[in-house]
């Protein structure tokens, strides 16, 4: 495969598409599928055949606003239809070339206008199971350009220049990590993609792997060229069977096209990828635990250093990045590091994909430039809190993150700003909570999660999360005391300081952030034996409040 051949494929796809007068794109992501998108697609194909019109019905990845699904976009007019079901198929096909179906049209301009699509640029536009669709949108061009026109250090320089930071949550500078692996000695190195999206409430990585799998493979191949690796692994959650299937297809097609395998693009560069299934362990999102799992062992983390960049998979230098990080690579190589660095804020460059869920009107995937105000994401893109309720908090970073109170909505979203308020960027879950959520109960929910998911290797995490859970349960049941609250806070500090890996070190975040911003709710539970949100079931008589506070 050469760049000329790639362009030839792109051209033939365009010629093929020109045969059709209309393109009807159906979102077949999990959320739309759960509302019958597969039946809808079949109905559209049938209606298109019956009409005699030249219509291409295409299955695509996630279009974004899942709460309006099933979604259909008609091109070239770019008409977006929402809440479509198979009964609407005929009306949609009949409307082609005439006026749009009025009842189905949706106005989501505010939702889309503030977004900048880099990682999701292809989602909703290509069939994820067709490699040629990806190639027609500049796919694999970055890989071949890198192989034929750039040196490995040139690639690393470009990534460093872009200012890209790891999208898995930690925010470590990607270029720096690549440089470390490139400098590490030895002939055998590995490139690993972390697709173990363990944060419950986040699904960006699933959508990228399902909607645009080749983009991840291309990013990994470029990384392998840059650091000098010839073997890669994608570690995917077993709970994502569609992602596994799409990646398997993508790998097969990329090998057939000579974009993976030996002597790629007639250069000495060899690279192939294997898929490894996770088996349901949150701790495997931690890098050393993930590598242990690929080696077929229990996912118990190891102390660092040595970092995987020096000694990772089977003791070899290993580059480990998240799905979204790899998905950013191809556009950076194509458009240059400066282009990427022009987006975002001072120390957080580019865009970030968030999974917007919870008590918000427009749930779904959004991609925004770093530094955007939280208020814009919630009120404009998300359409605010529905049902006349008021916003209470926004949770980012999942079980490792914190709750940001409604008063802090003017915060610009970046790695450092979120860290400063006691949360983290995390992988990109953003869960909106309204006045019906009890923050003490939310903290208990996350601690229970961490307690279950603790691997048990180090005591602060194994025993500490269990003790945190006991204290929080007591408070939620109205049996807590002010001493319990003090104890809880000091326990949090201990666990944070002394745990072995990220799971334990960040497990207290949801507790500390809710105590910091919603202390009054804790006091209500402890002193007045009352849950302001009406979530916790408290059947304890109120003692003399002076006595409790004393």
């Amino acid at each position: 495969m050469t760049i000329e051949e790639l362009e030839q494929i792109a051209k033939s796809v365009c010629q093929e598409n020109e045969k059709y007068d209309y393109e009807v794109n159906v979102c077949m992501d999990l959320a739309c599928m759960s509302q019958g998108a597969d039946r809808l697609r079949d109905a559209l194909v049938k209606a298109a055949e019956a009409s005699g019109k030249q219509v291409l019905v295409r299955r695509t990845g996630c279009m974004g606003p899942c709460s309006s699904g099933p979604l259909v976009r008609v091109d070239p007019e770019e008409l977006l239809y929402h809440h479509v079901n198979d009964g609407h198929a005929e009306a949609i096909v009949n409307s082609l070339g005439a006026s749009p179906v009025p009842d189905l049209q949706c106005d989501l301009n505010d939702h889309f206008d503030r977004q900048v699509r880099v990682v999701l640029e292809n989602a909703g536009h290509i069939d994820p199971e067709k490699i040629d669709d990806y190639i027609s949108r500049d796919g694999y061009k970055a890989l071949l350009t890198a192989l034929t026109e750039m040196t490995p250090s040139g690639v690393i320089h470009r990534i460093t220049e872009s200012g890209l930071r790891g999208r898995g949550g930690g925010g470590y500078p990607t270029g720096l990590k690549w440089g470390t692996v490139a400098k590490a000695g030895g002939d055998v190195k590995y490139v690993v993609c972390n697709g173990d999206e363990g944060d419950p409430g986040a699904f960006m990585d699933r959508s990228v792997m399902e909607g645009d799998p080749h983009r991840v493979l291309e990013g990994m191949a470029i990384a392998a060229y840059a650091v000098g690796a010839s073997k890669g692994f994608i570690y995917v959650r077993a709970e994502y069977p569609v992602a596994v299937a799409r990646l398997t297809t993508a790998l097969r097609d990329a090998r057939r096209r000579g974009l993976l395998g030996n002597s790629i693009c007639n250069t000495p560069f060899n690279f192939d990828v294997e898929i490894r299934l996770g088996a349901g362990a949150f701790v495997c999102g931690e890098e050393t635990a993930l590598l242990a799992s690929i080696e077929g062992r229990r996912g118990a983390p190891k102390t660092r250093p040595p970092y995987p960049a020096v000694s990772g998979l089977w003791g070899k230098p290993t580059l480990l990045n998240n799905v979204e990080t790899y998905a950013n690579i191809a556009p950076i190589v194509r458009n240059g590091g400066k282009w990427f660095a022009n987006m975002g804020s001072e120390r957080s460059k580019g865009t970030k994909v968030f999974a917007l869920t919870g008590k918000i009107t427009n749930t779904g995937l959004v991609e925004v430039p770093m530094g955007i105000k939280l208020r814009e994401i919630i009120e404009v893109i998300g359409g605010g809190v529905p049902g006349g309720h008021t916003l209470k908090a926004v949770q980012t970073g999942g079980p490792s993150g914190g709750c940001i109170p409604a008063e802090m909505l003017d915060l610009g979203v970046s790695y450092d700003a979120l860290m400063a308020v006691g949360s983290i960027m995390g992988s990109g879950g953003m869960i909106v909570m309204d006045d019906t959520s009890c923050m003490v109960n939310v903290a208990k929910f996350f601690v229970e999660f961490c307690k279950t998911e603790s691997c048990g290797k180090c005591i602060p995490c194994r025993a500490g999360t269990a003790q945190m859970h006991t204290l929080l349960t007591r408070i939620c049941e109205g049996k807590g005391t002010m001493e319990d609250l003090e104890l809880l806070m000091s326990l949090c500090e201990t666990i944070k300081e002394t745990s072995l890996c990220g799971l334990g070190m960040t497990a207290p975040n949801p507790v500390l952030s809710t105590i910091k911003y919603f202390r009054n709710e804790y006091i209500e539970h402890i002193v007045h034996k009352r849950c302001p949100a009406g979530v916790c079931n408290i059947n304890v008589p109120v003692a003399d409040s002076k006595e409790v506070l004393a």
Binding site: C66, L277, G358
Partner: protein, 165 residues
């Protein structure tokens, strides 16, 4: 060193050939343990003593280590699943949208706690950490099929449909 001969298949059940296939594809390497256990579970529905012993011997992994891996990962099950399985997602978005009520409703209707199967072996009630359909929370999977924005009534209807089968 003597060449290693993998143990014979436990029975002439054809599914063992599929399991063996996964191990052969990976050259009977020890790191194929989790991959192989996945194959066993998808072929047999769960992992029993015989299968864990067979896989451990085939891959030359100590039985204790194989058992340790099986019990470490939530995805692996040591009990056979019911004829039907309802899985309620317990992710954060689903929790915020009231998934705990769905679990309580199902527990009451089936008379079993989560993670168990009814005595007649008909229905298993499971919870999942997150299935990634958070934008349609709360979510339940009925025999693997995703139901979004599911209400207690819808879930009970599904359980009734299974009950009359």
């Amino acid at each position: 060193m003597l060449a290693f001969t993998p143990p014979p298949l436990p029975s002439d059940d054809k599914r063992w050939k599929i399991v063996n296939g996964t191990m052969r594809k990976n050259g009977f390497a020890r790191h194929a343990l989790i991959e192989t256990l996945h194959t066993v579970q998808s072929a047999f529905g769960y992992l029993d003593d015989d299968s864990i012993r067979f896989v451990a011997r085939s891959l030359r992994v100590p039985l204790s280590q194989a058992y340790g891996v099986v019990t470490f990962y939530h995805y692996f099950s040591l009990k056979p699943p019911g004829k039907h399985t309802i899985t309620v997602c317990a992710g954060t978005a689903c929790y915020i949208k009231g998934a705990d009520k769905l679990v309580a409703t199902a527990e009451k209707r089936l008379g079993i706690p989560q993670g168990q199967t009814t005595a007649d072996g008909e229905i298993s009630l499971m919870t999942a950490r997150c299935v990634g359909a958070c934008s349609r929370a709360p979510v339940a999977l009925c025999d693997g099929e995703v139901m979004g924005e599911v209400s207690s009534e819808q879930m009970l209807e599904q359980l009734e449909r299974w009950a009359v089968e």
